[in-house]
Symmetry: C3
Subunit: 670 residues, 3 copies
């Protein structure tokens, strides 16, 4: 057990709670808050996220008195505090005194105060003031009995992910100097002989602001890396203070799911616990699959350790165009889904619904209408359920399949000037993830440098940017007996977004046993048929494949490429490498992935799972827990592989099968 | 009769005319203009709107000589002048010398000269120069025999409704200091504990410029109020000069219909006559209903007194994407519609079609093709018709139904961060107005502080922002025997856009006899059925209603809320309060409103009006006038309630029924 | 033969080659490049386009050494160089030292370095540095044996067509002073009495930056003229140096097709050879018609002399949303199409596919995958074919039909504030061009001041802006026996975008024998039927026509204008003038144009051409060449008018008919 592990989420139950913003309300309401929290089963709150403006209402003048009382109330009630560092949004006085600390868009438009996160991530002014506050805060509450975990900032990069101001430009130059050493190395990395872009000094380099036409892709890629790193440096500056003052306490920050500007794998080494905010879209019938993938990314970033669902909505949010409430039972279902995928904490935004401000129509545990509401009833019921299964805490899933993703590749893939703009990192990930999810095959979602040897199947969906080292590791994985599935437009470009020469995808040609002679993107609405072992149709993408050892599983059935391979399988070393040269429709993708994982011996949790039912397993010291969640709208009958005890049910007998109503949840132990 | 009434439009006929811009043409054309005006029946023109650049071509150097000749020509011809103050658009020299007088967008983009209205409404530079010009102008023409009415500015806020420059920021701070007194009061009003937005001094406050994410709603709302007020201050600065120099003359300014940035009810106390510009959209089959509502707003703002249709197009406009001409007969029909709804003047933009400039393809009374054109023939014929019915002038409609609207609520309603973005103030108003219009039930459209006691029915469509005082007045109105119809998402928020706590809609719960437990917005394209006394379907919005005394008129028939109330009726005191919890399709809305107004005893002008026919009444010293306008495309047969004399017809007999051709107009007296 | 003709493309064969960017690659690759160029049949490359950053990596420090070696290699191999002046894109140091040289949008947003062409066209800084470089370059290579032709800049105005910065504003004022002399003349030309826009001094005039509402159309029009001229001045500044140092060498620059900001007819007098870049869109079934029109514009700009296809793609491009490759055989087909329409050179962008940068996914003669690719095979095969027909070089088409277009009219037509936004210059041109193309009738596409006397038919599609002089010339053309076809909304406005008064279209009323009383634009999706000699339907536009001598060919069959003329024919003098008052669908347009050209005696190259087959003729000293290109997807049988020899075929006999496979090409001599 490492020192990092020691600072894991230290809990013997599934925590339950919310963001708590008592400063929105007069102090008399706080007493009622504590009473209702107990009623609802709250065990943890995260407080102080946006309190900077109140605790330091003038520069250097601190008033923690009111917050002391909040902390004391919570401590008395035995509610743990995941204490925010209060730096998520600076008070108006900061930008009034330092307008150069405001973020600026690529078009030169300043983002002014009036909402939140109005700071340039590279701003020394912001960082200095934030660290100064954190020093005071940590010192004051280091020994407070309510303090459980540190929550640095909040949703880093949600609203200010990239800044193009002069402060950022200067920081970018520093970052480039550190990365490349010489301007010649930069010129090589950025292919600046193209379009007369050669730099003579670092001082000439700029952020990729608005340009007359297509920008330099390597510059844009590096700016994405730099911008993520600038946010991480804000986090690390605060973390340094906290670790110094409270070395024993775990530190986290809440990420947003599938959030392109912030790479969770780059941040993970600096976090003691992974945290995620996830807001299901009730109008999207596949929102639970979207969530499932995000949960798996979060858990995988933490190498499988229990994580926190830091924010979800009790019902509707306020920031989509149309904000449907969570239908009856779905909040419970989706909360248990997080637990089923490894979460040890389920928190909401927020405790009490705001009366004013931009989030007043975001649902909360205590709605505007008070506690005589279905929302308060549903959350309280969930609080009771979670309290009944403390033995789950600390147990972990152990998937046999890994999907490989890379934020660097995402940043490169979705730039312009590509064969097609139809390829979306997230859409492609979900298209590969969904057939495994639906089959009941748990997955990890890991970065390219993760040890793959324990997985029966590794899926690589459209990993456009890939270093030779990664390609070598994938090749070695197959040679050693692994099963690999690779989709089109993978392994094309190196870390500087320069094409690997020698025939696409050059570093994977050997393991895949083929060469792609020419990309053949399809028009919008155009489909191409496939015939062979799999009958299907593809869209968006096709390509001219020459076999070099692989066998054709299906070939194109029409169009310019009729008769040429579309899906291939290559026996290589002791393993197998599959390749898909087009984008299959979901049904065919399910059939193909069923076959691929069958070959690989990657079995589902339960064979023959009814449509719509999710099945996961967590194992730990207290046993092995089977979670069954019915995301469908009809009752499902499920035969259990072993007799199990129903932890949420009322019957003491062992079950061999289960009737799971629509939106139903079962937690079983065997 | 008040002093204000004395300055009402002083006319013994329906005025007819146009914007007159003689400076576009050489003086020899002016003589022809006067001759043709007489031929066309013109009795009034509004002149000088954009003449600033010619009368003051250099700062402080005035040349009114050419304009004297224009005024003299008009006086000689007996044509009255509604004299514009020439300040609608400053000459290029103003912004050349004072670039800080240019308006700036929320994104910092300056709006440069080259079109019109390129001034910041808060600019002291603009106001000073405008007032200086008006002083000269008023002094020069105070005693001119052609001068009839003052026309200040033009279409205030059409192109520069909101400015975000530093001059505006400073003026906003002044306005806030006056409104709130202390920064603490501001913090409370704006709920600034949210997202760490607390202000320490007024100097920190900014306009709601581009922000990283959702802005503070109360700040945005106050900026809409401030911006409207900044424009009003421009108007008032000029008005002060005119009233001082010509205390007897009426003063007006022309508003645009359904123009969100400018609240006609806030301006009305400062206007002697209401004026409106309305441009029907010939491609929109419902454009006359749109117009009808705007006419009723205008008349209601003036408490029913005769108003001016200051601008309409003789045929096509030039500023839509596709500008269809007015089909044969529609210009006449729509002109009479204004009169039918209380106008005592019908003017066009413009007299003679421009040869150059941005409006050269806007139709005019004298087209590019000259007088041998259907346009000149049609307008001349209308001129003759209007001249034939002087007795109508001064008479007024007296509707028995009022719709309540509030620009403050509009400004709050259409902000982001709401349960849905599907709610539009104007669309909702028209959806409630149309079934009354189509049934032949004349309406007023009034602000929330208007005395409602004279109305048989008061309709409150989606009045999101509502003070407790307004709610109390509505409650008292019902208690006293009134009939009230309220639609969803009404009475939610106070004047600072803070939610009224205690269950939606808290201040109306008693009168409506219900509580809304949770909003349930629908997805795009989603519909929910209703069953009960009304069978219908709803879209965009639904909500979970708990009855507290009201009776269910219809319940939801499917979806998550199946079986819960959708439409309710509550007998309260001596009156009745209806409530609609979803957005009904137009047919069901018509059926519902027919029932509601039947209950209330709000009868139509004529029972059983054929589809497409509008019926209105004006009453005055000269009698009672019935207007029938056939907006449909087929002939309509109408049984008259009383024998009538046909004022536009050739027959002297009294009519008991009328055959009204498509696009036909009848003005009847009985 | 003029001095200009002496500098025509001096070739005795069809040149074949590509953009060559050796600086992207290490020198060892250059040797392979030369070897492969010989293999592929390359005879000409254009080099140095983006080399500024390498030859002058610091201001004033030149390193031509590496480029000397490139030139020497090419000379040794006998490959001709169309030498670029290297000024297409300045190195980063230029804007670092002179930020005022960067282009700025109408909204004030700077276009920063990082892509290409980041210079303000009016910038004296850019021009001075460019000319200094060109002086060095021309001096160094004036006598180099590889040097064949000068290629100034590259795709002028592709990415920086219009700049709104202060430098541009000052240059605009200079340009206006030169054009108008006095500010009063400017005021008259710009109709500044409208909206109070009168200027008192030139110093008050600005570019048409973002305005509160519709800008002054004449200002916008003049800014388009000025902006085109600013780019031309950049070209001319370099040309002056080249002509001085190498007076014998032809000079060209490559235009983009249908490129609104740059008027090819205004540039043509300053070019010795016309050059065009054309990138077919493989997903567009009509892309070859689009190309055909652009080729005809290019050839017509050069008064028929041979021109260069300077850039095309070997297969896919990278800059559309979805970039389909060229299907098998289409690259050959489309290359021959350029030759068939008069090109004497067929070049690609580019020789070797880039590894990095924004165009790395643009296809090249040598793809990433190397020479064992269908692309390299197809281009090499084409190189061999072109080498086999040197006798074609220098021959010219001689069409009997001219379409008249005018960039000035384009600039005016597509501004806002018009009767409809549905009229597009390019769409309308192609709608008139396609039925002639499909019938096998070759066309010139000429500016309004071109001598029309040699044409049997002149087509004027929607030439909105037309001087009286042009109208007089069209009238004289018909009077003298010409056949003229004019479409709606033509001849409306003068050179200052002021309407010609006296009934639309005033200057053409006499020749057309009609008056348009009122424009009657149609709604989106609205169609109007036509009945008479042509049965058809129209959309987008209709108008109320009064006959004044013309005869009705078809009248409107429904709608408000039912029974009024829609298509007319007027016998005038010895000729005939047709007029179309609506926009016909393509089938009806084909029928109408067949009748119009039949009347005019404008015969096709081959009567009864199968659908999809293009037929053109080039004639010269070496004979008469018939080109047949099958753009369709089925085999076509074509009866030849005369026995012909098949220059690309293997049979020595004369053919009287030809079987042309799908995508097939035949070059015949008779």
């Amino acid at each position: 057990m490492t020192a990092g592990d020691m600072r894991n989420l230290r809990t013997t139950r599934i925590h339950f709670g919310a963001d708590y913003n008592p400063e929105h309300w007069p102090e008399e309401v706080w007493t009622e808050d504590i009473r209702l929290m107990k009623e609802a089963g709250v065990t943890m709150v995260t407080a102080g996220i946006f309190s900077w403006g109140l605790v330091e209402s003038r520069p250097g003048e601190y008033d923690f008195g009111w917050f002391d009382r909040v902390m004391d109330h919570l401590a008395e009630a035995g509610i743990r505090v995941c204490l925010a560092t209060m730096t998520a949004s600076p008070p108006p006085w900061l930008s009034e005194r330092h307008p150069e600390s405001l973020p600026v868009g690529a078009d030169g438009v300043t983002k002014w105060p009036g909402s939140r996160q109005h700071y340039c991530p590279s701003s020394p002014v912001y960082r200095t003031h934030a660290v100064r506050l954190v020093e005071r805060l940590a010192t004051r509450y280091a020994e407070h009995p309510a303090l459980d975990t540190w929550h640095i900032g909040n949703e880093y990069g949600c609203s200010n992910p990239v800044c193009y101001c002069e402060v950022s430009a200067e920081d970018f130059r520093r970052w480039l100097r550190e990365r490349y050493g010489t301007v010649e190395a930069l010129n090589t990395a950025w292919s600046t002989t193209f379009w007369s872009q050669r730099y003579d000094t670092f001082a000439q380099v700029l952020p990729p602001r608005t340009t007359p036409t297509h920008p330099n892709p390597a510059q844009v890629l590096d700016y994405a890396r730099f911008s993520d790193d600038a946010l991480l440096q804000c986090y690390l500056a605060e973390k340094e203070v906290l670790r110094r003052i409270t070395p024993e306490l775990p530190i986290t920050t809440n990420h947003m799911p599938h959030h392109k500007p912030v790479d969770p794998f780059a941040w993970a080494p600096h976090e003691d616990v992974q945290s995620l905010d996830f807001y299901q879209e009730p109008f999207d019938a596949g929102t639970h699959i979207d969530a499932a993938a995000a949960f798996d990314v979060t858990r995988s970033a933490g190498h499988g350790r229990p994580w926190m669902l830091m924010e979800q909505a009790p019902s509707a949010v306020n920031w989509r165009a149309r904000n449907g409430p969570k239908p009856f039972g779905k909040m419970r279902l989706w909360s248990w889904q997080a637990v089923a995928q490894g979460a040890d904490a389920v928190l909401y935004f927020q405790w009490r619904q705001s009366r004013g401000g931009a989030e007043k129509f975001h649902s909360a545990m205590v709605p505007h209408g008070g506690t005589d509401t279905r929302i308060f009833r549903e959350v309280s019921e969930l609080g009771r359920e979670l309290a009944a299964v403390p033995q789950i805490a600390g147990s972990r899933p152990a998937p046999g399949v890994a999907l490989v993703v890379d934020w660097n590749s995402w940043w490169a893939l979705e730039q312009g000037s590509h064969p097609t703009s139809a390829l979306s990192h997230k859409e492609t990930l979900l298209r590969h993830y969904a057939p495994l999810f639906e089959a009941g095959v748990p997955c990890d979602v890991v970065p390219p440098d993760r040890d793959l040897s324990g997985y029966k199947l590794v899926v690589v969906p459209n990993l456009y940017l890939m270093s030779e080292a990664t390609a070598d590791r994938l090749t070695a994985y197959v040679r050693g007996g692994g099963h690999l599935f690779v989709s089109y437009f993978t392994g094309i470009s190196d870390d500087c977004d320069r094409v690997h020469l020698g025939g696409y995808p050059a570093p994977l040609r050997e393991v895949l046993g083929l060469r792609v002679e020419e990309f053949w993107p399809l028009d919008e609405g155009q489909r191409v048929s496939l015939r062979g072992e799999i009958t299907a149709s593809g869209d968006s993408w096709s390509e001219a494949i020459d076999l070099e050892g692989a066998a054709t599983v299906a070939e194109f059935g029409d169009g310019e490429l009729a008769g040429r391979p579309a899906l291939t399988r290559h026996t290589y070393g002791d393993g197998v490498a599959w390749y898909a040269g087009t984008r299959l429709e979901p049904t065919a993708m399910r059939a193909l992935m069923d076959r691929v994982r069958g070959d690989a011996g990657a079995a589902p949790v339960i064979e023959g799972l009814p449509a719509g039912v999710q099945a996961t397993v967590r194992e730990g010291a207290a046993g092995r827990f089977l979670f069954l969640l019915n995301h469908g709208e009809t009752t499902a009958e499920i035969a259990l592989p072993h007799p199990c005890h129903d932890l949420l049910g009322s019957t003491p007998e062992q079950l061999t099968s289960l009737t799971l109503p629509a939106r139903g949840v079962a937690v079983l132990q065997h």
